[in-house]
């Protein structure tokens, strides 16, 4: 499986470290809503189909990527840096 890193280009999955579901938002740090925290920490949508997920290019540029990948086919449908501000200069090689 290849993951098209916006900085490094398509690279083998072995260079990446999976960081899991990307649909969760961390509650406000001071929040005491235990249900929200529980949901954030333990629950996942785990869809069979397109999945929004983080991957870190740990064996490369070390940046976290936000992928949409189909869990039925492993096809990567979209990719971007997780940290929006980084998108400058992307596109090669």
């Amino acid at each position: 499986m290849l993951i098209p890193c916006p900085h490094c280009g398509p690279r083998d999955v072995s260079e990446f470290s999976y960081q899991g579901d990307a649909t969760r938002t961390r509650p406000d740090p001071a929040s005491t809503d235990m249900k929200a925290w529980h949901d954030y920490v333990y629950n996942r949508p785990n869809p069979a189909g397109p999945h929004r997920e983080y991957w870190q290019h740990a064996g490369g540029c070390r940046v976290h990527l936000l992928l949409t990948r189909d869990t039925l086919t492993h096809e990567v449908q979209a990719v971007a840096f997780a940290r929006a501000g980084l998108n400058e200069g992307a596109g090669k090689p």
Binding site: M1, P29, H38, H74, R83
Partner: protein, 996 residues
Amino acid sequence: MSARRIPTGGLIDRSRTVPFTFDGKAYTGFAGDTLAAALLANGITLIGRSFKYHRPRGVFTAGVDEPNALVTVFKDGVREPNIPATQIELYEGLVAESQNRFPSLDYDISALNQLAGPLFGAGFYYKTFMGPVVGPLKGTRFWMFCEHFIRRAAGLGRAGYDKDPARYERMNAFCDVLVVGAGPAGLMAAEAAAKAGKRVILAEQEPRAGGAANWSGETIGGKPAALWAEAAAERLAAMDNVRLLTRTAVWGYYDGNNLAALERVGDHLAAAPKGAPRHRHWSIRAEKVVLATGSFERPIVFPGNDRPGVMLAGAAERYANQFGVLPGEKIAIFTNNDGAYRAAAALKKAGGAVVAILDVRPEISAAARALAEEAGVVPLLGHAVAGTAGKRLAKVLIQRFDAATGRLSGDVRPVEADCLAVSGGWSPAIHLASQAGRNPAWDDRLNAFLPPQPTQEWTGAGAFTGAMSTAEALSSGRDAGLIAAGKKASRAKLPEVAAPPLEAGPAPVFEIKAEGKAFVDLQNDVTADDVRLAHREGFVSVEHLKRYTTLGMATDQGKTSNVPGLAIMAGARGLAIPEVGTTRFRPPFSPVSIGSLAAEKHGHFKPDRLTPMHDWHVERGARMMEVGLWHRPMVYGEAGETVEQTYIREAATVRASVGIVDVSTLGKIAVKGPDAAEFLDRVYTNMFSTLAVGKARYGLMLREDGIALDDGTTWRLGEHDFLMTTTTANAGKVMQHLEYYLDVVWPDLKVHLASVTDQWAGAAVAGPNARKVLEACVTETAVDNEALPFMGIVHGGIAGAPVMICRLSFSGELAYEVYCGAGHGTHVWEALMEAGEAFGITPYGMEALGTLRIEKGHVTGAEIDGRTTARDLYLDWMLSKKKPFIGSALMDREGLIDTNRIRLVGVVSLDGRPLGGGAHIVEKGSLEELGESIGHITAFCYSPALSKYIGLALVKGGKARHGTRAFVSDALRKRFGPVEIVSHHFFDPEGSRMHG
């Protein structure tokens, strides 16, 4: 040479005689032979014994699809079992042996199994061997007793235990177009893509390119097809943008158009060239793939279809045409299609006597008729083989056959033959396509599955697509190559093919039903009756059929048995074959050496990670140990010392005077930027924004779920510049944890992280004389209590190298961590040793380090084990109430504050005997009657400071048990004895020594 060797022709090199042995007997063959060809040429037709019934077996095919002729090869001093003789190229001194027989191939006692054949039907073992319900053999005993014998009877070849000395390699390749298969189609595809300027890889599993052209007897462009192929391959090999890989089977089609291939670099050589691997594992990333993998011939199933001498018609033709070997002297042909007629003519031409052609069809094409005439026989149409006789094939029993009803009729007539060439039609080699495609589609004309719709970037060409003629192979090959290269199909003229205009489709006859064992899967001894038995017992799904009977599960993965098996099941169910479906194709396409996949990890599983002072430790006789990938000194033993004596000496020296330990392995992360302090406040449980520049602080991190993650000190080197240290084991994990929060959770923080673990060599100097040691060698800074108070940091030099010194203590002594550039590590270390000489400084290893920390009650990975909380470890004083931090929201849940959790305590052995890591603690009991565990020991040592065996433990209730007695209960090491539970701060609990 033998009578079986045809005097001329073929692609072998008759000028090079190659000696080899089989079952200890010496033979010769020619360069270019496979072992199978050479054995046949020597008149050897009995080559192996079958899996279950130990029936004599010969050569059935001429390629990777071989189910029968498996042998063990001896090379490099080791044995390699289960290699098809059809895939072994002859080399000088080749030693091969038959397998799965005792005492000899010719007389195998286990062949008696056949007598009990009906007992051993599919699934028989599920129905018996359950043993008595009572008595000594009850439970699993009886089964295990039987299993012992079953296991010995099963299996094929025997593997050795000696380390494989061969070299294996991995190779990464990138190309625009990967063409799989170098038959006529693949050659055309590769050339077309290459001419279009693409980077091309052409992979062919056989030693030579050409595929069917090597034995078809056809001509292409006026030349014998084999020569045309050779020329095409040469043209390709000469192009810069083409890599032609022969002896390379593409075996796996993975996501992202990543294909895996195995190149057998040295198997055909008596000795591989220096530095060359035996096998090379190619990981190929291709923009586009052209699958031109051709097709496999399949047999017709009939009783006695497994006798040595029965083989596929295409294989017989190939032995004659490519290897110059006659597979028999009296050859009968049995077919349901035209293809075998070409084989008949070729075998006749090669000098064989074609004694009969039996065709299940009532009528045949004119072209087939003409070939029969060439073969010198009148085909018996509407006939079939109803049985065979002879240990090696001697007779073929024939009968009238009605293809419409599938019935035999009339007299059974014997025909003398020592070879029966069978053809049941051809199936495209869709294995790779199915790994990267949907469900294959059944084709009624070819009676075969065609490639599925792709799910990846491939197109097909040639016989693979069901286009069975060479002319079609050429044109579809060129088109596929062009399309893969992003071009349009071409109309330009193609080389002319001279070939008989044979009809490609077979009659839909898959099995001849008659008395006797008719094998579907030759290797696993699955018979047609087994398939029907499976049906009767409800195992009607093809996947159930496979698992119940083991059909298709052998080394050939059902290449010859798949379609016949499905057809028989379809017949039993009264369904059409496509309704029954096919079993799932999986990698590898053909077996792959495990060594090649391990590649350079073979012999070196993981890289060694060395500290800057590594060589010094080794020279000093340190005994090294693995900590993750690192090598660290365990003890610096002196002659005659035990490990325990050494660490006690080392630890005692530290407490009495001074010692030095290599702490370079601690994870170090540079945390920099305007928001660095804020970031640390969020990730640590305690405050870092309040830390003064030039000071360090001990910090604790939790996971989001409130469990402790890691601890370490972080040094504030500048307003916006921190140096974080982590435990050795968690360095990578913590780095990733921090990077995740910066990238994903708090992208607006201006903080950068850099791994500087390797930048700094670290030496901890500890002991009452530590300051004196530093005073003796540190320049450019004072190190007295004022200049360098507890948790202070100074910059200076040692022996000319810049150093950074922080006064902190893991040992509980007055101690300093001296950091210098890693390249100066040994230099600084030696200078410290020299400065310490006057004080009797000792280097100490992990064991003494552990001892000192246990005495102090400091926690490490054994206590922060991913299940403990800060409270469990009595680190709750570090949980800031002034700010939220990672883990603060969930750390107070009921399960995490339960008073019955296991919490940190100290234990002291009361019987003067050692404790043991992993021993449990009980309130009562004995080794005979183990008590209920209330916790376990995480670490233990002999404490020179206390002159006792002590340990740290996690025990239910924790502190509440201080002062109480319990027992250490170590069933595994047979140790039971009294302990006292005490505070984990054994030594200098006030910390007066380190603050001193």
